[in-house]
């Protein structure tokens, strides 16, 4: 992909983000932060690429370990973020009908 198509995706996604986030109810702002936290860990994709590379030379070896470190950090966030969001959302209940 060339730079301009990537930039287009980015700019359009910013607009989508803008409208989607304004539609989030204020009561759910804390879960919103937790879930955005979890999804921003999609950076794990970059970490996996580094970790999966067949280490060429010393620099490649270091790169691999950095990648593995990033995989650990990002996965703390992925699992932790989604789990804590699910835990919070499970607590939001409507009035019980009697």
């Amino acid at each position: 992909m060339d730079f301009i198509s990537i930039l287009s995706i980015f700019v359009l996604a910013c607009f989508v983000g803008y409208y989607v986030v304004w539609s989030v109810t204020p009561a759910l702002h804390t879960p919103l932060m937790a879930v955005t936290n979890a999804i921003s860990s999609v950076i794990v994709v970059g970490a996996l690429i580094a970790a999966a590379a067949s280490g060429l030379g010393a620099a490649g070896g270091v790169s691999k370990w950095l990648g593995l470190g990033a995989v650990v950090l990002a996965s703390v966030n992925i699992f932790g973020g989604f789990a804590v969001t699910a835990r919070m959302l499970a607590m939001y209940k409507k009035k019980e009908k009697k």
Binding site: I9, G17, P31, S41, V45, G46, F82, V84, L89
Partner: protein, 470 residues
């Protein structure tokens, strides 16, 4: 361009996971759809990870699975064990991890650019250099800034702003230095350039957050949320990955909007919050004048219970103090007893109550308060005129009428609850000493219809519940 060719099905898969992330946020428009939204997010993540693993030749699968298992296990245990009151610091800690991961990925890409398809003959493309440099810088700022935010929120470091002399000049200089180095990185790809970028960015993250404290924390947390998104987006540019770019843009704008909402709810400019220093100890000149002693009334739990039992409607306004004393469960119990007595009970939440956006809503939800009894400022403020009791617990500045009347007040212009219109105001507070975060005295304390309930919030509410039982 000489990038590693990603098969088109993989590009499509990344797009799908990007769309699923959008749906995850979309779901949060109501509690009813939110759980499905969270599941979309998880599916999106699984697709992104699986696609990456399938399309890359994997040299060491056991290590990768090990890393995923270690991180996942830690994350899962933390998510299970964390107390809801500790959510702000947990979110800050999570932000720091995203930031650090971005730095590590940037460094990994620098050391092994061929694996990422961003280099030719050992030279990294100029464009990739800028993207990588910015990604590392934003990631590092997110990391060190979030660590400070975490320490402040967890009470491991004083929440008070720490002011360095000439800090604006230092900060601006450092930011300019970082940007120049990122530019220079395109022509000189030496280790020291990227090393210095990282170092300076770690320092600036630290410097940016230490002068901000206390009630400005919701803005800080939202802002760091935004940074973590921009860091992911910058890395997405480097790796030409749609899922990362979409997510980064979503998270970046989400954090930015939340910061905006928080600033607006305090009637403060974003820049003045960032500049920091609000809520510092008053200057010697301003604080020197002796305060006049004004009469106020103290009530007991029994008085409060009696009045509320007789009331038709009670509006409860929780604030950070409720979170500190963990009074939410006792409060819900009080609400239940009152409802049985036929009293209408509602909860009113100010956008900046607590230490992060939506903090109070989560705590009330944890205590099983139905979300349709919880109202936002604009939706409930007109009801105070008809309300018998306004029950303020652990909040202060958000009910201070000075915000409406006193132009010299630091909180002037901030939207506040019109509690002075209620027939009776009950103010649960630890002592008459502290006067809220802003350090402004509150006229509500001294009104005829105000009853000060001086005790720890949780203990007071429990006593009221006991008194109601009689």
């Amino acid at each position: 361009m000489e990038h590693v060719t990603t098969p088109s099905w993989a590009m499509f898969a990344y797009l799908v996971s990007g769309v699923l992330f959008i749906l995850a946020l979309r779901g949060l428009s109501s509690p009813a759809t939110s759980r499905a939204g969270n599941r979309y997010g998880m599916i999106g993540m699984v697709i992104a990870v699986a696609t990456t693993l399938v399309t890359h030749e994997i040299a060491g699968l056991p290590e990768i699975i090990g890393a995923l298992a270690i991180g996942g296990g830690i994350g899962f245990v933390i998510a299970r064990r964390i107390a809801m009151t500790a959510m702000p610091q947990l979110v800050a800690a999570f932000h720091s991890l995203v930031g650090m991961a971005a730095v590590l990925v940037g460094w990994a890409a620098y050391l092994n650019p061929e694996a990422f398809g961003i280099a030719e003959g050992g030279q990294i493309h100029a464009q990739s250099c800028i993207e990588m440099g910015l990604g590392i810088a934003i990631g590092a700022i997110t990391f060190s800034g979030s660590i400070i935010a975490f320490l402040k929120l967890a009470g491991k470091m004083s929440g008070a702003p720490i002011m360095l002399p000439g800090r604006h000049v230092i900060n601006l200089g450092t930011i300019i230095a970082i940007l120049s180095l990122v530019g220079y990185f395109t022509v000189d790809q030496s280790l020291w350039v990227i090393g210095l970028i990282s170092l300076l960015a770690f320092i600036i993250g630290f410097l940016l957050i230490i002068p901000i404290g206390g009630a400005d924390m919701p803005v800080v947390v939202s802002m760091l949320n935004s940074y973590s998104g921009w860091a992911a987006a910058a890395m997405g540019f480097t790796l030409h990955n749609t899922a990362m770019i979409i997510t980064g843009a979503l998270v970046g704008s989400s954090g930015a909007i939340l910061s905006y909402i928080m600033c607006k709810a305090m009637n403060r400019g974003f820049l003045s919050v960032i500049a920091g220093g609000f809520g510092a100890a008053p200057e010697a000149g301003a604080g020197g004048a002796p305060k006049e002693q004004r009469p106020w009334k103290r009530g007991s739990a029994e008085d409060a219970a009696f009045l509320m039992k007789e009331a038709e409607s009670v509006i409860i306004i929780p604030g950070y103090g409720m979170a500190v004393s963990q009074a939410q469960h006792a409060l819900r119990e009080m609400g239940d007893v009152l409802k049985k007595e036929g009293v209408s009970v509602k909860y009113a939440i100010h956008p900046v109550a607590g230490r992060m956006p939506g903090h109070m809503n989560v705590l009330l939800a944890e205590a099983n308060v139905p979300y349709d009894e919880v109202f936002e400022l604009e939706d409930i403020n007109s009801e105070f005129g008809q309300c018998d009791v306004a029950f303020i617990i652990g909040a202060n500045d958000v009910v201070n009428p000075a915000a409406k009347t006193d132009k010299s007040s630091p909180i002037y212009g901030m939207p506040v609850f019109d509690v002075e219109k209620a027939k009776t105001v009950m103010f649960v507070k630890r002592s008459m000493g502290g006067v809220g975060y802003s350090g402004v005295d509150n006229d509500v304390f001294y009104m005829d219809q105000t009853m000060m309930l001086l005790a720890d919030a949780k203990k007071m509410v429990e006593d009221i519940v006991k008194a109601l039982a009689h």
